[in-house]
Symmetry: C2
Subunit: 438 residues, 2 copies
Amino acid sequence: MQKSDLLFHAKWIITCEENNRVLENHALVIRDKKILDILPSTEARQKYAGSKEEHYNTHAITPGFINSHTHLAMNMFRGLSDDLELLDWLNNHIWPAEGKWLSHELVHDGSLLAMAELIRSGTTCFNDMYFFMDATAEAAEIACMRAHIGLHIIDVPTAYAKSVDENFAKALDFYQRYKKHEMIKLTMAPAHIYTVAIENLEKCNQLAHEYQLKINIHLQESPTEVAQSMKMHRKRPLQCLHEIGMVSPQLIAIHMTQINDADFAILQQTKPNIVHCPESNMKLVSGCCPVEMLMKHGINVALGTDGAASNNDLDMLGEMRTAALLGKITANDPAALSAVQALKMATLHGAKALGIDHYTGSLEAGKAADFIAIDMNQIESQPLYHPISQIVYAASRSQVTDVWVNGKQLLKNRQLTTLNEKELLEKAQMWRNRITTG
Amino acid sequence: MQKSDLLFHAKWIITCEENNRVLENHALVIRDKKILDILPSTEARQKYAGSKEEHYNTHAITPGFINSHTHLAMNMFRGLSDDLELLDWLNNHIWPAEGKWLSHELVHDGSLLAMAELIRSGTTCFNDMYFFMDATAEAAEIACMRAHIGLHIIDVPTAYAKSVDENFAKALDFYQRYKKHEMIKLTMAPAHIYTVAIENLEKCNQLAHEYQLKINIHLQESPTEVAQSMKMHRKRPLQCLHEIGMVSPQLIAIHMTQINDADFAILQQTKPNIVHCPESNMKLVSGCCPVEMLMKHGINVALGTDGAASNNDLDMLGEMRTAALLGKITANDPAALSAVQALKMATLHGAKALGIDHYTGSLEAGKAADFIAIDMNQIESQPLYHPISQIVYAASRSQVTDVWVNGKQLLKNRQLTTLNEKELLEKAQMWRNRITTG
């Protein structure tokens, strides 16, 4: 008999390893923030007798979802303007709103509101890109989430930094303070090729190499972006980045809705990670990333919601479903982007993109205790023939009952444990009143 | 002072009339199953003093959703087989399962399960097409929903009827028994042009004229259907129906993902109703109905989920959202198929398609008390700038708290009043066990 911290018995455990397994009536054994074992419940009761036991009799336990592209603070602009084209939406709505309201306070409150939404829908880890990174990092520490925060670089002056040099200075300062944090990891995050000059992209690349950071960038999100690059550089954005040596497995290319043969050749050769954001891409008519084709060629594709201003939620269950549906019509093949693939994009593939798949993204002994329980005994999920189909195609976020990150419970029977829901709703109302009357 | 039954005070009332209004702090006044008045809450308290009052202080009240295309009983096959092409899915999975399990009992239990899902997600009226119509009608009477049930005609022998003649005989018998029902309305429902011979379609058309019924048919759902018709009839399906005089405002053409210029000319001339089922069409890669273009040309487009076996839910909130997202990429215009249009497709346009817009589909004095309350004071719906944007792009079905049909409350603070949730879950499990072991 061995001592262990906690046994979680579940109707189903879905591991999301490379060779995914759906285990029935198994137990997840957690010790010291980590997964110690996964084995049949009957065996677990003997091998780990004396442990504290929890029962998810009608639930599926899966890895926590990894939202690989967010702008969390933009939750405060959710639904402010809809049904508009990307650059119209940015130039005439979002950037003016940011110009007026961007502040440490807005980012802090917006990030906390977003994290509450993430936790309530089963997301345990996010990859954020926004201004006032300190405010998001503080929020992540309060929420106890696993966070990836981009060192945000943009040439355009903002309320956060008057120049690109000030952005670099603040990024370096932020890096020094958070580089050894257990739960908050950093990436380099130049915003777009059309808002960061090539020499500054090169500087980002150097810093990323020096600090061994992944690089995040919105890339070939829309036809307009590609056309602007062709006009300015006589090259497509991916080619520009490739020529400065930025395209490699260290790159996280966000969106990539525009891929021609030359792009595809670069992708095949260099194997960057791609983050697919189907709902944002559809809403802004940015284009459709050919996910199935990329995955078939061994390119890692993760899943992100993008910011709530262009989605308008941070619901990874809904995003998986949209990814599966859009993936099929993009590939013109109803067998493309199956439910299993969508679930892996939202878990293991996200961890790979962020370079953390050695400790999270799937349920395996030795990995961190980042997992969620989804109640399948609901009218909307019955009868149940295949749990993964039901999770991707029929379940909704409200069926996520419990969420654990690094062995700590952040959602307990639908109640947040680290965040105060009532306070967050009041803060959201306050910001709504400010923004609409201001 | 006038006597009234009930005052519903709400933060927002969204009327979904032709000229939609979003009213703040208004009251909906209900008397004798009908809407008597809609007016500011302060005025309502004076004008209708002494009435019983209910308060939806953080809610939006909207018309109940109308799901314009369902196969309710197929809820029992939800998730049985996914990620397959339409005809493979039908021929090798769904039709064999139906061949084995189709019965009055399955349809009764499946319809009840589906109605529980409909009510829990704010749908008050559905338009169904399936075998064993009696079983669905009985379920609708138990659930107290507003039902449209198709007189189902198919040439193929089934467990329900051995021949098309038996289908016609059963349809006529069903018609006689339900023709004067207050809540259950009938349509003619030949299944597809490839499962019903032209002479039988003509007979359906005659009966529909004789009984003044709308005609439902799956039409130009997929490229394969069009190709088969070209091969067999040397005409596209719409043209075939047009030549027998079936295409008119009395027709409800379901799917219509394949529309060429000749089809469009017929549609403009004849003005049938179209039911768009975006999630089913995406999942089966049937095609994309050009909704924005049709609506701009004055063709009424309603919204349906299709059956849960190809969706895999009956969630009209999710369907509206997918319709808006898919509508934009289909039109290649992010301003296409706005949130307001999506909401109208799910309400007034559905009522128009079914020919019941004179008494439901919008909130107006004199119409039936078919309405729902959606709680917007949730982390996922805040801050709130525009209620319709939040409903379509961010809310989920679990935020629907209360549902009223014809003045009767079917969902009360998330609890079903006419159906027993526990019993339905047990029945679903029983069917799951039968179907998987059988």
